[in-house]
Symmetry: C2
Subunit: 304 residues, 2 copies
């Protein structure tokens, strides 16, 4: 692949699926001379070293951060504000910092408090993932033809944004830049809400089964799709709910309103009204698929 290195040394804190895949992609494509792996689990870092995901294992956070030209924070999303505070004193003067968390505004707020302008911090959220987690599941092509949303703050150094953007583009992503609040609002609707709905559905089936109904053995026509979504990592979704609660609650309210509209149409036996809503849904999907195939070279996460 052999591009010229964008960074001499990248430190990745949290070498799991996302951190590990970014390490692999950056190394395979020659975007970095050395990747330092950092994080709490030494055994995990050893495995990353064995697998050739990282070049160097560093148990000491301070020592690892001091060497890095770019620091990528890839630990669970709820740990990021505190981690940012922890690493800030050790970073090289000319280095940049980014993250891969799926909620952005609380992290940006923390960064705004920690760093003076021009801030070295750029928020990042690669829209990519698999049902598996951990460094064993990492692979270099995870980000290819996926979107990566970057959320610079008002005081972010333009060179930091540019560097981080080039990294994501070089590993194959289409980069979109937006405000952190807007990111959280969009994700609250388009990703977090569907998960809450799926959890609600599986939860209601569980409640019904507790009353003695044997429902799940008849699972068919749609229910399976929901249980797939609703089997995502419980801790991760707990954290997302805690960190993006306001936007999620707003989206849940909007959903409830639409759901009640449909309930009302059923109650009133309004066949015409129901058909109209169902027909519009089909159009929304058609529009969605068309937009995805025309504006993007390849499918994004939900169509894998």
């Amino acid at each position: 692949m052999g591009g010229s290195p964008l960074f001499k040394t990248i430190a990745i804190v949290g070498v799991g699926l996302i951190g590990g895949s970014l390490a692999r992609a950056a190394r395979e494509r020659g975007l970095v001379s050395s990747v330092i792996g950092l994080g709490r689990g030494e055994q995990n870092l050893r495995r990353a070293l064995e697998l050739g995901v990282i070049d160097v294992l560093e148990k000491d956070l301070e020592r690892g951060i001091r060497k890095a030209d770019l620091v990528v924070l890839a630990t669970p999303v709820c740990t990021l504000p505190e981690l940012l505070l922890k690493i800030a004193p050790f970073r090289k003067p000319e280095s940049f910092v980014t993250d891969v968390g799926s909620v952005k505004a609380p992290i940006l707020r923390e960064a705004d408090q920690i760093f003076q302008a021009p801030s070295p911090f750029v928020g990042g959220h690669p829209i990519a993932g698999t049902e598996h987690s951990g460094v064993e599941a990492s692979f270099a092509s995870l980000f290819e033809q996926r979107r990566c949303i970057l959320t610079p703050g008002a005081s972010t150094d333009p060179r930091a944004l540019e560097s981080v953007r080039r990294l994501w583009e070089a590993v194959g992503s289409e980069v979109v830049t937006m405000d952190a609040e807007r990111h959280d609002q969009i994700m609250g609707f388009i990703s977090h809400l569907p998960h809450m709905v799926a959890y609600g559905l599986v939860h209601s089936v569980r409640h019904a089964e507790e009353k003695g109904d044997d429902l799940s053995s008849f699972s068919a026509g749609g229910f399976g799709d929901f249980t797939r979504i609703a089997s995502s990592h419980p801790e991760m979704w707990r954290d997302i709910c805690l960190m993006n609660g306001d936007a999620i609650l707003e989206a849940m309210g909007a959903f409830e309103k639409s759901f009640r509209e449909i309930r009302q149409l059923i109650l009133e036996k309004d066949g015409q009204g129901l058909e109209k809503v169902f027909r519009q849904s089909r159009q929304t999907r058609a529009k969605l698929l068309k937009e995805q195939t025309s504006s993007e070279p390849a499918p994004i996460e939900d169509r894998k």
Copy 2:
């Protein structure tokens, strides 16, 4: 395959995906000497004849029904009660009648009014389908290793139940027998509710976009699964909502309760409570997948 014929002549009213696939499967497996295709659209029946799906095209409903040892009603579910009434006078004394509609109680109620005991009618619902419809999309293996639910009435002739059961087993299905009301309640929960939820979700995104938000282009992480479900046939789902309204409303109420539980946990920032619900959902899925792989030789509809 060459089993001995179960029926001399089967009349299929409505030769679409389900009716056409049943015709193909029965003919390929030698379960019938002749399949008569009936239905409103002559052009569709001609196509079925060309494709070798049926043996005989019969434009006249009365004439077709008079010849049949088994009548299979495979027209849209809302047409079934009336169709049952229409064909009843013409059927052979020793013939049986079944259907493939996805709502059962209203059809059984109609059958109970039309036929004196022992009734020739058995309700049927093969849990099978694809995203496509019409005779062009039909194929003989559609019912293999899928469940087919049969709902006899209180006055159904046991020989009718036995004959229809043997047909579905012979085309490869696992037959489950239950009460029509129970069928509608289970499907209301496990199949109809997920569709309402998916429609509600897509509908709420549409509402948000009407207010100017560009959400769907960021579709990721779950939303796509929902739009797939929500692009099912608008007319079919309208009819299901009209025919199984009570059970669907009950299931929707149960879902709303569970959904509000989650909303409340988010509102209260109850991380422990959220994690518990999410963890239980994962267990429900694990249980579901285990049940399906242990009790059934192959995946049912939702896992195709």
